[in-house]
């Protein structure tokens, strides 16, 4: 009994310590971000391209199918009320407010996030970060910050692509397959989707972008510098990002509703 209490206490202390270090790390990134954005914008753009290009294809393919399946579900549900014209609205709202940001963040973690973690982790394992230290170059500023910013900028763009392609998928199913009138399909969307709905999706994709990128670079920077350590760190990136994104999604939605 005594042991269990001690164990719980120990793991709580350990958690608090890690969480504190995580926050400090975040502050360090924020401190270096403005100068990186102004003086080395090219490096950041390179990382936006890296993170974005890596995830673009998978985001588009998934967006298409998620939009299509949403339209399938919406059509079958709406037809119970003879409200087939609302198929587009139902799919669009689900995409913009929920599935666009959430799915994109999870795909991003799986594709670009793991790449960031293993890249930084391997740089650490092969002394590249130490070598930078020795060349009087701060590796947090030069390696971690641009990758973090690249992810933060790429995420909302990817979420927008996801939602746009998703709407196209919904159009294919609703209009082409089920013959919903194309005019009313899109007009209903224009009438019913409000700027606040779009804003909700944008807020979420920004928050998720920060969370996913931060977790990915943190895991990479704190990798145990061995092959096994890098493997574990990439796995953790995906798992922790997925949980974090879903919890944040619930909280943001609860606040905004």
């Amino acid at each position: 009994m005594h042991r269990t209490a001690q164990d719980i206490y120990d793991s709580f202390v350990e958690f608090a310590r890690t969480f504190g270090a995580f926050q400090l790390f975040f502050l360090r990134l924020l401190r270096h971000s403005p100068s990186m954005l102004t003086s080395r914008f090219g490096v950041v753009v390179g990382q936006v391209y890296n993170a974005g290009a890596l995830s673009l294809v998978i985001v588009m393919v998934c967006g298409l199918f998620v939009g299509a399946v949403l339209a399938l579900q919406a059509y079958s549900n709406m037809s119970r009320f003879n409200a087939e014209d609302w198929t587009g609205v139902a799919a669009a709202l689900a995409l913009l407010k929920e599935l666009g940001p959430v799915m994109t963040a999870i795909l991003f973690a799986g594709r670009a996030g793991t790449a960031l973690t293993s890249e930084i982790g391997l740089m650490k394992a092969t002394d590249q970060l130490s070598a930078m230290e020795m060349m009087a170059v701060n590796p947090v500023r030069r390696v971690v910050v641009p990758r973090f910013l690249g992810g933060v900028i790429a995420m909302p763009l990817l979420a927008a692509v996801f939602s746009a392609v998703g709407l196209f998928g919904a159009h294919l199913v609703g209009v082409e397959l089920f013959q919903v009138d194309v005019g009313s399909f899109w007009q209903q969307i224009q009438l019913m989707v409000e700027p606040a709905d779009v804003r909700e999706g944008i807020y979420k994709s920004i928050v998720f972008g920060i969370a996913a990128s931060l977790i990915a670079v943190w895991e990479g920077y704190n990798t145990v510098p061995t092959a096994e350590g890098v493997g574990r760190a990439t796995t953790r990136t995906v798992v922790i990002t997925a949980i974090t994104v879903l919890v944040f999604d619930f909280m943001i939605t609860a606040v905004l509703i």
Binding site: M123, T126, Q128
Partner: protein, 270 residues
């Protein structure tokens, strides 16, 4: 600069341990200005660790390290970075940046710390690559290099900012005899022509003898012997003779600390 003494680096009573395992236990060591100092010792004695302590990538539990008269433990980050710009370091495995080409790797410190024009950078980088015989490899990526080539590129990178102090961690491992000769002469020439202070970590007794002014032999967390290569090779101490002539038996343990072999094989150690 500094206190003008002959010693560029002075290490006093250095104590450092990894967990419960002491690596250094009261180490005293001087690196003389303008000379090539070799640090030798059996694998795992802490030679790489010592280099990391000198450059404050690691912080000792006790003792002082003076670089040019300055106690490096008192430096703040920006002063530390200023000091590090006077160092060039060749890592044991090269540590090239894998996402940059050979050329960009060597150009990296210049791009980070100077505003030189592209033409000038190109000129400097190609000169340094030429010195290590790899001008033709400028366009390759680090993954396309052999281990020895990677270390030579890393050497070019370490020299590119014209440092005052060059630190080499095992520069001769994995080099063929020809490159070895070239690199040994390069190390010596840079030292003499540019007045650089060099620290070489190596197991290679012969090569060290041709290039070093002074050698330290580390063992058990302390300096076991020191002196010019001649002094060491004619030393009568059992320990020095064991290392210089590569004998398994002697005061330097070939084995990492372990419980008795017999006990462990019989499964009695737990």
């Amino acid at each position: 600069m500094g206190d003008g003494s002959d010693n560029l680096i002075e290490i006093r009573n250095l104590k450092y341990s990894r967990g419960a395992r002491p690596i250094f236990d009261g180490l005293d060591l001087n690196i003389r200005r303008g000379e090539v100092t070799a640090i030798m010792g059996p694998s795992g004695t802490g030679k790489t660790t010592l280099l990391r302590l000198i450059t404050r990538q690691l912080i000792p539990q006790q003792g002082t390290i003076l670089v040019d008269g300055i106690d490096i433990s008192t430096l703040n980050t920006s002063h530390l970075y200023q000091l590090r710009r006077r160092f060039g370091m060749l890592f044991q495995n090269g540590a090239l940046l894998t996402d940059l080409s050979v050329f960009e790797n060597v150009a990296f410190p210049l791009r980070e710390h100077t505003n030189l024009s592209d033409r000038l950078i190109r000129h400097i980088v190609l000169t340094k690559l030429h010195a290590v015989g790899l001008r033709g490899a400028a366009g390759l990526m680090p993954a396309e290099l052999s281990g020895g080539m990677a270390r030579r590129v890393a050497l070019a990178r370490a020299m590119v900012m014209d440092p005052d102090i060059l630190i080499y961690d095992e520069p001769f491992v994995g080099l063929d005899p020809i490159s070895m000769g070239v690199i040994v002469r390069l190390v010596r020439r840079m030292n003499d022509a540019l007045g650089i202070t060099s620290i070489i970590v190596s197991h290679d007794v012969q090569e060290v003898a041709t290039v070093a002014d002074c050698s330290y032999l580390l063992s058990d967390g302390q300096v076991a012997a020191s002196g010019s290569p001649d002094e060491l090779s004619t030393a009568t101490s059992v320990l020095v003779r064991q290392f210089m002539h590569g004998m398994a038996d002697g005061p330097v343990a070939f084995h990492y600390d372990a419980p008795s072999y017999e006990e462990q094989l019989l499964g009695r150690d737990s």
